[in-house]
């Protein structure tokens, strides 16, 4: 859930939107190219996200009014 990288969910939504607009054919060529480039960037992000693997489980505990996340052993 880092700020600079879109989540997979957002990336997929945006990719669907981009594909639909490109298929629509109403765009200026320059806009179409810009969208295509954005799509390719998102595809790379999504692809590398799919390839990553989280091994650890984190534990959520209350910390006063706040909370704490710390790793715990998975199995």
């Amino acid at each position: 859930m880092t700020e600079e990288q879109p989540t997979l969910e957002r990336a997929l939504e945006r990719l669907d939107e981009i594909a639909m607009r490109l298929e629509g054919g109403e765009l200026e060529l320059a806009d179409a190219l810009a969208l295509y480039e954005e799509g390719i960037r998102l595809l790379r992000v999504a692809d590398s996200a799919l390839g990553s693997a989280e091994e650890k489980i984190q534990q959520l505990t209350a910390d006063g009014e706040g909370f704490r996340l710390r790793p715990v052993d998975a199995e």
């Binding site: 859930m1 989540t7 997979l8 969910e9 997929l12 990719l15 669907d16 981009i18 594909a19 607009r21 490109l22 298929e23 629509g24 054919g25 765009l27 060529l29 179409a32 190219l33 969208l35 295509y36 799509g39 390719i40 595809l43 999504a46 692809d47 996200a49 799919l50 390839g51 990553s52 693997a53 989280e54 489980i57 984190q58 534990q59 959520l60 505990t61 209350a62 706040g66 909370f67 996340l69 715990v72 998975a74 199995e75």
Partner: protein, 418 residues
């Protein structure tokens, strides 16, 4: 006759059953035995007993002779005082007995019994000295069958229904690809393992965050509710799985409690319930955004399959590329069409210009004096190039040129025409 499979007071003694012929006879024997021991023999009425002394003695007697009894009957006039103590009457066709259930025991009741409900109560007989009232102090109260639990469920369900918390329209869509799944379950149970296994297989990139809690026993419901709220407050998960493995109705009871239902209903994060019990639907299931029959099924529902997602990404790339290619092709066609349009309009323009120039040439020719010479006119021109237009221009002896079509003829004025 069937009774609760579980009791609301774990570890309660298992006294012999009253209400059977054997039980009643045994009781009668016990009382007769006490009489034989002379405890009840008071041949002469002793004077000057105080009311308190009599009540105290009677109480000792009653408490001393009756063991704990299971008593069956119908509940009437059940009331819960502000103190938390509960008061009611047990009755059969001919008799009734006042009952009290102290707060600590009453707290374990899933709900108040309905008027006239058939129950059995475990209690000790006593005498309330201040009033001289014979009563039963009840430690366990059970509905016939699973009556009280069913009643509690029905009541809570009706309440939540009335508030709209179980309405299908209230259920939220789950995220398609959650980045983080929050787990509200026991840190030691098989549930955690099952969910982890499914998520690692289908969507290994997904982060799992556990907020461990007890999932059965007293206080479990509160812990579950607190865990759900902690996730809501921290916002660290995109979807929650709240659940436990299978178990008896009693094991699952925490998931039927109002605190859990409210925590789920109020959760800002969508909730999947996974109480491993295929047949019984818990209150948590009714309020959750999705009900999964098992924790593994909950995990399957929570995350997409990675391979399907990879195929979808490939499809998206194909669509995008095809779209761009079509757009470029369209661009080429547009350019070709425009080019031919330009060429055609340029041709038209040139043709128009040519036509205009030809017409202009004709007009110029018509105006030219040369055209007049063609027709036989001649132009007298003075040596200085002036055209001689009037009579007085022609003085005697003037030499001038007469321009005709093919040249100039020298001429001299001989005489005055006047």
């Amino acid at each position: 006759m069937s009774w609760d499979l579980f009791s609301s007071a774990p570890g309660a003694p298992d006294p012999r059953r009253a209400g059977t012929v054997d039980g009643n006879e045994a009781l009668a024997h016990a009382v007769a035995g006490a009489q034989a021991d002379g405890v009840l023999e008071q041949p002469e009425p002793r004077a000057d007993w105080t009311v308190s002394a009599v009540n105290a003695a009677a109480r000792r007697l009653v408490e001393g002779f009756f063991p704990s009894l299971w008593i069956v009957g119908e509940v009437t006039n059940f009331t819960r005082a502000r103190s938390g103590h509960c008061y009611f009457t047990l009755r059969d066709d001919v008799s009734q007995i006042r009952c009290v259930m102290w707060r600590d025991e009453a707290r374990r009741l899933p709900t108040a019994p309905a008027e006239g409900m058939e129950v059995r109560a475990l209690g000790r007989l006593t005498l309330y000295e201040a009033r001289g009232e014979f009563q039963l102090v009840v430690s366990v109260l059970e509905g016939k069958g699973e009556g009280l639990w069913k009643l509690a469920l029905e009541r809570l369900k009706a309440k939540l229904d009335a508030e709209g918390l179980t309405a299908p329209g209230r259920k939220r869509a789950l995220p398609r690809v959650p980045a983080v799944i929050g787990l509200v379950t026991s840190p030691s149970g098989a549930v955690l393992h099952d969910i982890t296994t499914v998520v690692r297989r289908r969507a290994p990139w997904t982060r799992l965050v556990l907020c461990g809690c007890r999932v059965q026993g007293e206080g479990a419901a509160r812990e579950i509710a607190d865990a759900i709220r902690l996730f809501g407050r921290s916002g660290v998960a995109d979807v929650l799985i709240v659940g436990r493995g299978g178990g008896s109705v009693e094991d699952l009871w925490a998931f039927n409690e109002e605190v859990v239902a409210r925590a789920i209903a109020e959760s800002p994060i969508p909730v999947i319930s996974a109480v491993g019990h295929e047949t019984d639907v818990t209150i948590a299931d009714l309020v959750a955004d999705l009900r999964a029959p098992t924790p593994s099924a909950a995990a399957e529902a929570a995350v997409p399959d990675g391979r399907a997602l990879a195929r979808e990404l490939a499809r998206l790339q194909g669509r995008m590329t095809a779209g761009l290619r079509a757009r470029a092709e369209q661009g080429r066609r547009e350019i070709a069409v425009r080019a031919s349009l330009i060429a055609r309009s340029a041709e038209r323009l040139l043709a128009r210009r040519r036509e205009r120039m030809r017409a202009a040439g004709q007009r110029l020719h018509a105006l030219s004096p040369l055209a007049a010479l063609d027709r036989g006119f001649a132009i007298p021109t003075a040596p200085d190039g002036r055209i001689l237009r009037r009579r007085e221009d022609f003085t005697i002896g003037l030499r001038f040129g007469l321009r005709v079509r093919d040249g100039t003829v020298p001429v001299r004025v001989e005489e005055d025409s006047r």
